[in-house]
Symmetry: C2
Subunit: 262 residues, 2 copies
DNA sequence: CGATCTGTTGACACTGCTCAATAGGAGTGG
DNA sequence: CCACTCCTATTGAGCAGTGTCAACAGATCG
């Protein structure tokens, strides 16, 4: 939106000239040269990330695949639809939305991703990304060049299994979202969305009842297949009924069971 | 529905006792003992299946992973939600629908699969299938035990790539379906559905303008997130406008561009 | 401090769902 | 082979949940 087409991956740092050039072009979004190397073993998200279920020795080998981190600031894109696919990304901190574009040019939010989630799988089949990934706050991702990850998967069986499980989990997640979009009322969708976010925060050790929504009502509406007004109204109604309190982007869930019963 | 819980995979044929037992229980759905072995090299679907882009020598090795075929008759289930995940399946002939169940017990069609498509990826992440796969006509699938496929992927790089691409394609397919469900009118959904089927027939060398829909209006409606009446009405309206002719399950598309313009 | 973006709330219209009646087709059994 | 039944598809009428349009209030940011 406000940044032109910029450096897309840390791994291109191997070509020093390119990096320097792109840093001059737009310093804000050029890859930061983090002095530290990735260390999965000490990462808070290691249990839900690519590294999950790896032994220590294998985790060190995965470190060598993670070529570095990339900082993406609020509103910036990690990648765009049409960009050549080179890497998967693991969200270290912050959060993202993915935005697809319909044949008629309408933009639609297809997913939300928080720390520990993986991004970029949309690019594997066509070797080109099929959506934009936009940071919802200042964020940092690990960059995993796909050809290196593939190579390591041929050597480390648990890593191969974990990678396929990640893909499989994305498939299941999306088919559940399809069931939501196809069959639930607007209110049910909003309730299900809140419970989904809640569960994901819990899995990460954060409060599952009080959190801040990083995305706008319009993003939520787009994701849920309803208008932003309907999202707003649903939240207001839930508040009136004492199921939660809303204050802008801050949510506190007061009655998870009642939300679930919607 | 009408068959009890039965033998789920041909590979279990290695345990002769089990097979015999289950054949007695329900002969209709027990795995048939095909005398021929799978031969990807001569399969009509080899270009769009798991075998795509493999060299001849590698295809022979894939044959050894394909432990056999399984016949699934109209209405029978290839697998059920909750079944342990052991194999992926490649549709050799016929077609399937996958049906998920919501928390409230409502059944929803999450996909349609025809010859050359792969089934079962929903089971990878949890090692348990998350939906039912039901034959829409008498069908035959190749059974690919997942652990063997994984092992071969560690040896054959193009096969590894192809497997990941298949997973990636499923992810892209589903996110496109999400965009359809979230943002198109009922009529647009039906039009998009017909064009999707049309394109898939074309890719397989069949007529892209005249075909038979194997599924019911209710299946289509469930998949598209509308009622069966709405599907029926949309088809009637398209017919009135000369975009196609319908006669029960037989469809002839007369104006693809106009359908697309919906 | 104004400008812009985001969120809330109201009024109204319309798409698509529900309920219902009818007809066509496929399969089954006599 | 026909009659019967059940399943599937079509079509109509009325209603309700959501989208659309609009006005306004807060929040954020330079």
């Amino acid at each position: 939106m406000f940044d032109s087409h910029v450096a897309d991956d840390v791994e291109r740092g191997s070509i020093a000239k390119t990096i320097t050039f792109e840093k001059r072009q737009d310093p804000r979004s050029a890859p930061d040269a983090f002095s530290e190397r990735a260390r999965c073993a000490t990462c808070l998200m290691r249990n839900i990330c690519v590294a999950a279920s790896l032994e220590d020795s294998d985790m060190v080998r995965l470190d060598s695949v993670v070529q570095g981190w990339r900082r993406v600031r609020l509103g910036e894109r990690l990648y765009r639809a049409g960009d050549p696919f080179r890497s998967l990304y693991a969200v270290r901190s912050g959060s993202f939305k993915t935005v697809g574009t319909t044949a008629r040019g309408r933009e639609i939010v297809s997913g939300f991703y928080m720390a520990g989630d993986s991004l970029g799988m949309d690019g594997v089949s066509q070797e080109v990304h099929s959506c934009d990934a936009i940071a919802l706050e200042d964020s940092v991702v690990c960059v995993l060049p796909f050809h290196l990850l593939e190579a390591l998967c041929r050597e480390i069986k648990p890593l191969q299994r974990q990678l396929l499980k990640m893909f499989g989990a994305e498939i299941v997640r999306e088919s559940q979202q399809m069931m939501l979009l196809g069959n639930m009322s607007a209110e049910q969708r909003v309730a299900a969305f809140l419970l989904n976010i809640s569960a994901r925060y819990r899995a990460r050790g954060y409060s599952s009842t009080a959190f801040v929504l990083r995305m706008t009502r319009e993003d939520i509406g787009s994701f849920l297949g309803v208008t932003l007004e309907t999202v707003s109204r649903s939240l207001s109604r839930f508040q009136q009924e004492g199921l939660l309190t809303v204050q802008g982007k801050s949510i506190e869930l007061l009655n998870l069971d009642a939300l679930d019963a919607r």
